[in-house]
Amino acid sequence: MSNFRTFILGLITSFGLPWLLLIVIPVINYQELSFLPYDKDRDGVEGYYPPATVHGQGQLIYIREGCVQCHTQMIRPTQLALDGWKKGWGQDQEPRPVAPVRSNTLRDYFGEKYAPLGLVRSGPDLANYGWRAPDRSVIHQMLYAPQSLHDWSNMPAYKHLYKVRKQQGPNSQSAIMVANREDAQQEIVPTAEAEALVDYLLSLKKDYLVPGTAVATNASAKK
């Protein structure tokens, strides 16, 4: 380094290159991303891909509670990992699906401000949870008292998303039943936030058909 200016120039070039190529240009290109149309003849469906985006209001709760610390939302391709063969992790809920769940594309997260891909998989992947989700009340129970469903679970209880109130008259429509409730006179009612979170979880379906890939899927399904 002959002088100060060359040194600074070296710093700018060395970091500016990855900054430009890895961050700035992809970010600009991402703005061009839009819905892809399905071709009725080719794909067998109409409309646009992705057909539905996630429930945004509920995602705010998911993000606020830091669910990403333990849950991922990303299916890895089969040449890397076995995510695609995990039972129930995709649209096909058969006990022995014919094809693995596909890995995700950039458009699967279209419209999300920040895709919560997740940090550690301490709990199951939730990318396609919407397909395998049990009844609403079971999800509420899972959120309110996870250990009442699985005694081994290390999931935190999100009790602050629920209100425990004295029962007035007949059971409230929205009240959830929890197995180990102490007092029969009390009922546990989900708040709007809990409902939104459940809506979000039910909207997690990130393996919709990608336009142009239907033939391969159908062929393997017929085998």
């Binding site: 970091f15 063969w85 995700n104 401000k113």
Partner: protein
């Protein structure tokens, strides 16, 4: 220092006066940063214990919203990164830059205090927001979006005088690798931090790309802020204490520029096999593995500089911490390479191993080097010596064992967890086996953070006493080996 002639004695005295003037000029801001950072470190380790306990006993201390794992863990890491890491790093950077470039901090001390106060208020508000529902779930950027401009501005207020000092003292022939690294850190952090925040907080929607940028940010912060500060500090203190020049100038340059060219590409390999365009994680995997080059080069250089002076590692607290910190640098590099490449990376992906990497880099490598620096700098600023050898020794050993335990258990837990996730036998199983298998490691992690908390209590008390001016009044530095206590130490004389 051997004194031969009266003229050199005068020179030495003039030198000492000059050093004392420089020290005095940065004393206030540096001590302010160290003290606040030490408090944040304490907070972070306590949160670390709690978060680890929450992983195996989720209802510990009740099902209160503030202390669910999803909020505790980011609070713990943000306190570690912003409260302790960057703050203590800035203190070390400022002092080394002033000393190494021979420049006093002439004016603007009050604005440094103001920036420091704002930094701490912002971190406090940020952590409170995370715990009370402002968590953004973007790793290491979990604080609400109005915090980052405050942090960025405060950082720039500190970076500016350092750039000035560097510019004034830049001599093409006099090669100063430690200030190169520190200037790099001054320069890279604002760039990375601004880019990540603009992309993630200001742009409307980036979907999965935002997650990739987030991972890039975390790696950038580790490799282009924490690593340079720690390496710069090691390059300054190892020769200083051993009394030997840095072994090889060429290796130093190679290490610096290879880090500068490679580190900006890494990060997105965290989402290998994910929705990002395949070249992005691939180049991250490639450079993440290739970073073994600067890691090896810097490690070799430090090793060669310390060679033959290993007895000083036993006596000098500064060298001992710095030595261990530099030892953790290759460990960090190897763990990064293991996490980055596609063969071991997919096993360790989405497992506790990533936490192990963050802790080994921020705590094992960076913080140990910074502790070493603090043990050297603080006595020179306060005018008194560290009170107790035993406290320093406790701090060293409990930290060392604690970090080693966290890193080893996180890695082994990662291998276990990754194996369970990819086990064909478990294709139709729920997560019972996985969470049962992870439990012992999480208990070990809680215990390890407990050890570290214990060591930090004493570090904090020791530091508070020093800053309060209650240290030992002595001209002899506090060295770790009692048998050598009366032999004068060349570097500390």
């Amino acid at each position: 220092m051997q004194i031969n002639s009266p003229s050199s004695e005068i020179e030495t005295q003039a030198d000492n006066v000059r050093r004392a003037t420089i020290d005095k000029s940065v004393k206030g801001p540096v001590l302010f940063l160290f003290l606040n950072a030490a408090f944040w470190l304490m907070a972070s380790t306590i949160l670390g214990v709690l978060a680890a306990v929450k992983l195996f006993s989720p209802s510990f201390l009740g099902d209160c919203a503030f202390i669910t794992f999803g909020r505790l863990q980011p609070a713990h890491l943000n306190a570690l990164v912003y409260g302790w890491g960057i703050q203590a790093g800035l203190g070390v950077m400022l002092w080394i830059m002033a000393r190494r470039s021979g420049q006093e901090l002439r004016n603007g001390r009050s604005i440094l205090y103001v920036a420091g106060v704002f930094w701490n208020i912002a971190v406090t508000l940020g952590l409170v927001s995370i715990l009370t529902g402002g968590n953004t779930s973007m790793q290491w950027l979990e604080m609400p979006s109005w915090i980052w401009p405050i942090l960025l501005l405060s950082f720039l207020v500190y970076a500016w005088p350092m750039v000035i000092m560097f510019g004034k003292a830049f001599r093409p022939e006099g090669f100063m690798v430690s200030t190169w690294y520190i200037l790099g850190a001054c320069f890279w952090f604002p760039w990375i931090y601004l880019t990540a925040n603009v992309c993630l907080n200001c742009l409307p929607s980036l979907g999965a790309l935002a997650a990739g940028i987030n991972a890039w940010f975390v790696h950038g912060l580790i490799l282009l802020f924490f690593a340079p500060v720690a390496i710069g500090s090691a390059y300054y203190f190892i020769p200083k204490i051993t009394g030997k020049p840095i072994a090889s100038a060429d290796l130093s340059k190679l290490g610096f520029w290879s880090l500068a060219f490679l580190a900006g590409w890494t990060g997105m390999q965290v989402y290998m096999g994910g929705p990002l365009p395949a070249w992005m994680p691939s180049i991250g995997a490639f450079t993440g593995t290739l970073l073994l080059l600067p890691v090896g080069v810097v490690g070799l250089n430090h090793h060669l500089t310390t060679l033959g002076k290993h007895d000083m590692v036993a006596t000098s607290p500064t060298l001992r911490f710095t030595f261990l910190g530099s030892l953790f640098f290759p460990v960090t590099g190897v763990i990064l390479a293991l996490l980055s490449n596609y063969s071991t990376g997919v096993t360790l992906q989405f497992t506790h191993a990533s936490y192990g990497f963050q802790i080994v880099s921020v705590y094992g490598f960076f913080s140990m080097c910074v502790f070493g620096a603090i043990y050297y700098i603080v006595p020179r600023l306060t005018g008194c010596e560290w009170l107790s050898v035993r406290l320093i020794r406790n701090h060293f050993w409990f930290s060392t064992y604690g970090i080693a335990a966290i890193v080893v258990t996180s890695l082994v837990a990662g291998i276990q967890q990754g194996g369970d996730l990819n086990n064909p036998e478990m294709w139709d199983q729920d997560f019972m086996q996985l969470s049962m298998n992870a439990r012992p490691y999480m208990i070990a992690r809680a215990l390890a953070w407990g050890l570290i908390t214990w060591s930090n209590i004493w570090f904090l008390i020791h530091l508070v006493l020093m800053v309060a001016g209650l240290g030992r009044r002595s001209s002899a530095p506090t060295l770790l080996h009692s048998s050598h206590d009366d032999t004068p130490h060349a570097a500390h004389a």
